[in-house]
């Protein structure tokens, strides 16, 4: 992704143009490895004759900063200057396959792959340098892409010189990655690579791409999910100068070279829809979910909850509810499609360029190799841009009209087609012994998913059952519209329920909620984040509910440990909740970019306030009632609490995710305060 010079010629010239290709890439290697990360390091990097290093990754830049942090990983292992690394992201013709950018996987799962590629390339280059300098490879040093022989400092060769104009036989050898002590780029907070483009307006998002002859499409949408088009009259729209109307299967689209003229013409289309039969609304949804949810599945079990309950003096049962929540990224789903010479190129704001490639190929009846997805900057995803309907629509319309077509959802379409965080229900029955210990924990989650549902507190008898998940769990009709992953999918719901219940149990036994948690925690990493947060917060032990507005919650999210404490004020007459201060301690193992991690933590905390305090999608009979930011309120500047973030120093543990974990605690930490 190089949005600063997104000229069509250059974009189309990149693959196989021979300018950057130094290491011979086996043509089929990528295709064969399509369903996994290629093992050939050439798939990830090319060293240009000018010494610049192009780094190819299937990940995309959604705002989370991976354009910078992934470049740090490669620069570190390859021993080149960070500024010399140009990231090419999410372009299916030139980047190695990747499933998508979600689940805080970019560092946890893909990081080691990229570091390994860099380390191996460095080892190969050192061998070449050894031959060139006629010195043993072990003696050579590399800095900034320049190889020197310390015993003869005048003797030096650059990576660029080594690879320039040559076809180099690939020599694979497994090279170890650097130890933490040797890091000079990892662990730093350099200026973000996307900074200049983003503050000057030069950053290009899919909706900013304009191609010669391009038409903007506005598509007729049903008023409700489940509604079907009965009849449509496009006569008036067709009379608008320059408008083209397309009808293809279920799709009615109005196209014009100006987006607002297309919009106005769409308003002239007269359509009647058959509405679906009355169904559920946001009030009745929980009863519906409990009835319609598929058979529960035991996710984990330890001891026997029935035996555990016998050890208990009291049982505490509660049910927790979560509503549908929208992703509401500031950039709506956007795409531009062009078909030339039997090949489709689609610039799409998506989190999943490779899956979208398959979907577009299928929709067009093209072979996948004749579809290219290019991902420019993406204006926020949060899981919502895993589904990329707009890319398919743009591609279909480009095929039909023979012209490049841009599809940009308006805000109403964005809400309508959003794959919401699912509404969900959790029931927990937990038992306390006479000594104030939790001996039994019976947990059932409906429709949120089982991620991190299993208890991490020390409880001898526990069972976790999950029914359905964020995509519906294979049960058609479970949710009345699209649902999908929403930042830290299923874990917001599971953490809210678990941590709320833990506080209720602490209250039952009259013990401070932090002390109560620690008395059930032997996991050292978890204890450490709780203690770090408590110290920074200045936690004063007391019974819960505090009555003074102090709350605690903790969670594990796919290997990342996070503890959060908050100070909350409630206006007792208006009921308005104001979160005054949030302290968040996180152990994500190796921190690649500390400031980037703090940005993600701060962002997670702010975003979490939304689902906690105001966000809830209202709906009735398939109709989505909240369609813009007037009724759907997301966090604003006046909500900003004092935020303090703590990164636990733990560099010897591999990096885990960072952008999602802090958000999971916000619901419970506010509720507990």
């Amino acid at each position: 992704m190089r949005p600063d010079d997104l000229s069509r010629r250059e974009l189309l010239a990149l693959p196989g143009a021979g300018l950057l290709v130094v290491f011979p890439v086996e043509a089929e290697a990528q295709e064969r490895a399509r369903q996994g990360h290629p093992s050939d390091f050439n798939a990830y990097l090319r060293i240009g004759a000018d010494g610049r290093v192009a780094c190819f990754v299937g990940k995309v830049e959604l705002g989370q900063g991976s354009m910078t942090s992934l470049a740090q990983l490669l620069a570190e292992e390859l021993d080149v200057a960070l500024d010399s690394v140009d990231m090419v992201m999410g372009d299916t013709d030139v980047c190695p396959w990747d499933m998508g950018t979600f689940g805080s996987l970019s560092h946890r799962q893909f990081g080691p792959v990229l570091r390994g590629a860099g380390a191996e390339a460095r080892a190969v280059l050192l061998k070449l340098a050894a031959e060139h300098l006629q010195a043993p490879a072990e003696r050579l040093q590399v800095k900034g892409g320049i190889v020197t022989d310390p015993s003869a400092p005048a003797r030096r060769v650059t990576y660029a010189q080594l690879v320039q104009g040559k076809r180099i036989e690939r020599r694979l050898e497994k090279a170890p990655v650097k130890p933490v002590a040797a890091f000079t780029v990892i662990g730093q907070s350099p200026r973000r690579k996307d900074a200049l483009e983003k503050v000057t307006g030069r950053a290009r998002y899919a909706g900013d791409i304009a191609l010669p002859g391009m038409l903007h499409a506005r598509i007729l949408r049903p008023p409700a999910h489940g509604a079907t088009l009965r009849d449509v009259d496009t006569t008036a729209a067709e009379k608008v100068q320059g408008v083209r109307v397309v009808r293809d299967a279920e799709m009615v689209a109005v196209l014009h070279e100006r987006p607002d003229v297309a919009e106005k013409a769409l308003g002239l289309v007269k359509a009647r829809f058959d509405r679906p039969r009355p169904g559920v609304d946001d009030k009745g949804i929980f009863d519906h979910l409990l009835k319609a949810a598929p058979e529960g599945r035991v996710v984990s079990e330890r001891g026997n909850v029935v035996d555990g309950a016998r050890l208990c003096e009291s049982l505490v049962e509660r049910t927790y509810f979560n509503s549908y929540v929208a992703h509401a990224a500031m950039e709506t789903h956007s795409a531009v499609a062009m078909i030339e010479g039997g090949k489709a190129t689609v610039w799409a704001g998506t989190q999943t360029p490779f899956p979208v490639k398959q979907q577009v190929a299928q929709a067009l009846g093209f072979a996948p190799e004749n579809v290219r997805i290019v991902t420019p900057y993406v204006g926020g995803g949060f899981g919502g841009k895993s589904a990329s309907r707009q890319a398919i629509e743009a591609a279909r319309l480009a095929k039909i009209t023979g012209k490049p077509v841009q599809v940009v959802f308006d805000r109403s379409e964005e809400f309508f087609y959003d794959t919401f965080r699912p509404a969900a229900v959790v029931t927990i029955v937990a038992g306390l012994t006479g000594a104030g210990k939790i001996a039994a924990w019976d947990y059932k989650v409906y429709c949120a998913g089982d991620r991190e549902a299993t208890q991490f507190y020390d409880i001898p008898h526990q069972r976790t059952v999950s029914s359905g998940n964020w995509s519906g769990g294979g049960t058609p009709g479970l949710h009345p519209f699209g649902t999908g992953p929403w930042r830290a999918p299923s874990v917001n719901t599971n953490t809210f329920a678990r941590e709320s219940h833990i506080d209720i149990l602490a209250n039952q036994v009259g013990v401070d909620p932090v002390e109560f948690r620690l008395s059930h925690l032997s996991d050292k990493r978890m204890r450490r984040v709780v203690e770090a947060a408590a110290k920074q917060f200045g936690w004063k032990p007391g019974r819960t509910p505090s009555g003074r507005g102090a709350g605690v919650a903790c969670a594990i999210y796919l290997g990342t440990y996070v503890a959060t404490m908050a100070e909350v004020a409630v206006n007792k007459s208006t009921g308005r909740v104001e979160v005054k201060r949030v302290v968040c301690a996180q152990d994500l193992g190796l921190v690649v970019n500390p400031d980037g991690s703090r940005q993600q933590m701060e962002g997670s905390i702010m975003m979490g306030l939304g689902y906690t305090l105001t966000e809830e999608v209202r709906f009735k009979d398939g109709e989505i009632l909240d369609r813009n930011f007037d009724t759907y309120q997301i966090p604003r500047f006046s909500w900003l609490p004092k935020i303090e973030t703590i990164l636990i120093d733990n560099p010897d543990t591999p990096a885990s995710g960072c952008g999602e974990p802090p958000i999971v605690n916000i619901g419970a930490v506010v509720a507990n305060a």
Binding site: G63, L196, G201, Y377, S638
Partner: protein
């Protein structure tokens, strides 16, 4: 018979240079900027003046270009994010956003910077509360609010004699 729009010639100053466009003057400034004039820094976020991603400066005021008919800027001075840096030098607000990493996805950023620009024109040394109040209706989903406030504070210190 095709319906042809009533087109008029509208003249205004755009980023310091005079421009004339022949358009249906009821069209919104946002689309004329993005589609007719090729300046895509102002973003479409909501289409209803609710989010601020389309913010531009008209004379000295921050304006929602998605809800401003182009006829309203006739004879006026329009500043977009593309016109804020001069001779390749970032404006102090842009510089502060870079230094503080006061953005993530960047989609709301042009609107945030220009709205802050309008604030500093009127109030060169705003208090934190004034910044929050002025920025309240510009939405950011990534949650960069803390850094945006800090960047505006830093820029206020750096802007000499107003923006």
């Amino acid at each position: 018979i095709l319906i042809a729009p009533m087109e008029r010639t509208i003249s205004f100053t755009l980023n310091g240079k005079p421009v004339r466009v022949r358009v249906d003057d009821e069209r919104m400034l946002l689309w004329v900027l993005r589609s007719d004039l090729g300046l895509t820094g102002a973003k479409f976020g909501c289409g209803a003046a609710l989010c601020g991603a389309c913010t531009v400066i008209v004379d000295k005021e921050a304006v929602r270009s998605c809800a401003t008919p182009v006829k309203e800027v006739a004879g006026k001075r329009v500043l977009t994010i593309e016109g804020l840096s001069r001779e390749g030098r970032l404006h102090p607000i842009q510089d502060a956003f870079v230094k503080r990493n006061a953005f993530q996805c960047g989609f709301c950023t042009p609107g945030m910077i220009l709205n802050a620009y309008a604030l500093l024109l009127k109030t060169p040394r705003p208090t934190r509360a004034e910044i929050v109040r002025h920025m309240e209706d510009n939405l950011c989903r990534c949650g960069s609010h803390l850094r945006i406030v800090e960047a505006i504070q830093a820029a206020a210190g750096a802007v000499k004699g107003g923006a």
